[in-house]
């Protein structure tokens, strides 16, 4: 029974991790930028939701549209005003985008600490659990899972069936090909960053049900998203869902069987092993 319980916890966590990783994946896929500020967008949204709940009793789900719009605006601004200005042809282009998002990460952490303080907060929302036999399903986790799945499907639909989605996928598959077909790559990049960021902030709002967080925990979610994306295969969106489930299950089982300290290392071990032995990810093409 305990195994089933751990599996349920792992899958529920995996759903939210998948949503967070989706945002990271779009940005990496289209721009080959490892966005080190990804986790900070997640955490800022989570802390904001907790703040709204504690101060004004606002239901975090009502905040979702607001965080999504704010995330879109912030993402568009960051790319248009900052990332776009980095020279692309310098040998250290990869390094400079890493450094830029690293600086952005510090900026967001600092802004979060200055605005909301350093206390660890979460949303005590739907603290009950459904009991099915001996297994219990925490309501908040279930809700976060369901919303994450709905949002992920929404974004998947956007990527699959709209002209913008096709342009985004074309740019991530083959830059020259996309250019040759008349895709406005500059615009697609700005939009990809502008879409990736609200995915992160939406995931963060849901994370506020699951974790105690302060503005400094961003790196945790950056690493999680990176691990999910690496496990699933870069630029592969269904693979990332698989990766998120594997990571969620690993965290759930490892913290039960190995204790909290050693379990911290489990996701890292998992993604290093995948990098070394399945370099393209479980469902991906070979890593470029």
């Amino acid at each position: 029974m305990i195994l089933l319980q751990l599996a349920i916890n792992g899958v529920l966590l995996g759903g939210v991790l998948a949503l967070s990783a989706l945002g990271f994946n779009i940005v990496f896929g289209v721009m080959r930028v490892v966005n080190l500020a990804h986790g900070d967008f997640v955490v800022l949204a989570a802390v904001f939701a907790a703040f709204g709940f504690a101060q004004f009793g606002i239901n975090p789900l009502l905040l979702l549209p607001l965080t999504i719009v704010a995330g879109f605006a912030a993402g568009a601004l960051v790319h248009y005003a900052l990332l776009r200005r980095l020279p692309g042809e310098v040998a250290s282009a990869e390094a400079s985008s890493l450094t830029l998002t690293f600086g952005l990460s510090y900026f967001l952490t600092g802004a979060g600490l200055a605005t909301f303080g350093g206390r660890f907060v979460s949303v005590p929302y739907l603290t009950g659990a459904f009991r099915i036999g001996e297994v219990s399903v925490p309501q908040a986790r279930l809700l976060a899972f369901v919303v994450a799945v709905v949002l992920s499907l929404g974004f998947a639909l956007l990527l699959r069936s709209t002209a913008l989605g096709r342009a985004i996928r074309a740019t991530s598959q083959n830059l020259d090909g996309a250019l040759a077909c008349g895709v406005d790559v500059d615009r697609v990049r700005t939009l990809a960053f502008a879409i990736g960021t609200p995915v992160a902030t939406a995931a963060g709002t849901l994370m506020s049900f699951l974790y105690n967080l302060n503005a400094q925990q961003g790196v945790l979610f950056t690493v999680n998203a990176f691990a999910v994306v690496v496990i699933g295969g870069l630029g592969n969106y269904t693979g990332a869902v698989l990766g998120a489930l594997i990571l969620g299950l690993t965290e759930s089982f490892a913290s039960y069987f190995m204790g909290a300290t050693l379990a911290e290392a489990a996701p890292y071990l998992l993604f290093i092993l995948v990098l070394l032995f399945v370099p393209g990810g479980l469902r991906g093409r070979r890593a470029a």
Binding site: L100, G103, G110, L269, L276
Partner: protein, 312 residues
């Protein structure tokens, strides 16, 4: 890069000699706060030089070199506490241990490239930290106390010596065939291999040197803190700070880490004193702005401007 600035090239040796003498005499004149600040500055610059070899010259961007710093710290602390060695001997052993660990680790990890290597190394550093926490001999995460006695001055001289050594090593790499091999594999690893560069050996050598330097520095840091715990010595902040210094100064240049380090520590100290509340915000924002203004770093930008003006 200094090659394009002939005036500076002639001035480098005398300037360096004066700087070293001033830095050696500095502790005689400085108060406790100032010498602490000086130690931390020299430490970060030395770390930046260590990182610059594998990441600047060889182009393998690592987010995990701090693992070797932590290993050096813990090895030194354990040797001093259990075997009562003189701490500098213990720190030397810590550096050698870091180097020995780096060789097999490099053999495995350097198969990864680009962001995969960067994040793989980040994960590796986290795993080493967790493993250290799990071993009972290290105090299982609650930390280790070192016997008091060796003052900040000793630690400072040790660190200064390693920093000067790291700069000397970088000067040598920048002019040697080994440095050319590293730069060749940074630009295109396959072409380098085709031209007869033994890429694996060159990469692992660079990785080893980039582990030895933080390994040696770690022991001094343990003595400086007198009490170490995993989060203090596997400090991602120290790691990232040294990376930013190297990039800000100019990736893969001889003087980049020094210039970047001096600029960064000055800015960071001034901000910390005046705006402690929003320090992180300003620091991050400044980094972003500087990066857009000088994408290749301070040293290359300066060298290019100088070269243009003198018409060479």
């Amino acid at each position: 890069m200094t090659g394009s600035v002939p005036f500076l090239k002639r001035a480098v040796l005398p300037l360096a000699a004066v700087a070293v003498v001033v830095l050696i005499l500095a502790p005689l004149r400085l108060n406790g706060y100032a010498i602490n600040l000086l130690y931390v500055t020299v430490l970060s610059i030395a770390l930046a030089y260590g990182w610059n070899i594998i990441s600047g010259y060889a182009g393998y961007f690592s987010f995990g070199q701090i693992a070797f710093f932590g290993v050096g710290s813990y090895a030194t602390a354990l040797i001093v506490v259990n075997w009562h060695w003189y701490w500098m001997a213990a720190a030397l052993a810590g550096g050698v241990l870091a180097l020995l660990l780096a060789i097999p680790l490099g053999y495995v990890m350097l198969r990864l490239r680009g962001p995969f290597f960067a994040m793989g190394m980040f994960g590796m550093a986290q795993m080493v930290r967790v493993l250290v926490t799990a071993i009972p001999a290290t105090g299982s995460g609650s930390g280790l106390f070192l016997p008091p006695g060796s003052g900040i001055t000793e630690v400072y001289y040790w660190t200064l010596a390693i920093c000067v050594g790291a700069i000397g090593l970088t000067v040598w790499i920048d002019r040697s065939a080994f440095g050319l091999r590293l730069q060749a594999l940074r630009e295109d690893e396959q072409v380098a291999a085709t031209l007869g560069v033994e890429t694996t050996r060159a990469k692992i050598t660079a990785f080893g040197l980039s582990a030895l330097i933080p390994g040696l520095l770690g022991g001094g840091y343990a003595l400086y803190l007198t009490y170490i715990e995993p989060d203090a010595v596997f400090s991602s902040r120290l790691d990232l700070q040294s990376i930013v210094m190297a990039i800000l100064g100019g990736l893969g240049t001889v003087w980049g880490p020094l210039i970047g380090g001096l600029v960064m520590t000055q800015i960071s100290e001034a901000l910390w004193a005046r705006f402690p509340q929003i320090y992180l915000m300003i620091f991050g924002g400044l980094l972003v702005v500087l990066l857009i203004a000088l994408p290749r770093g301070i040293v290359p930008a300066f060298a290019a401007r100088f070269a243009r003006r003198s018409g060479t």
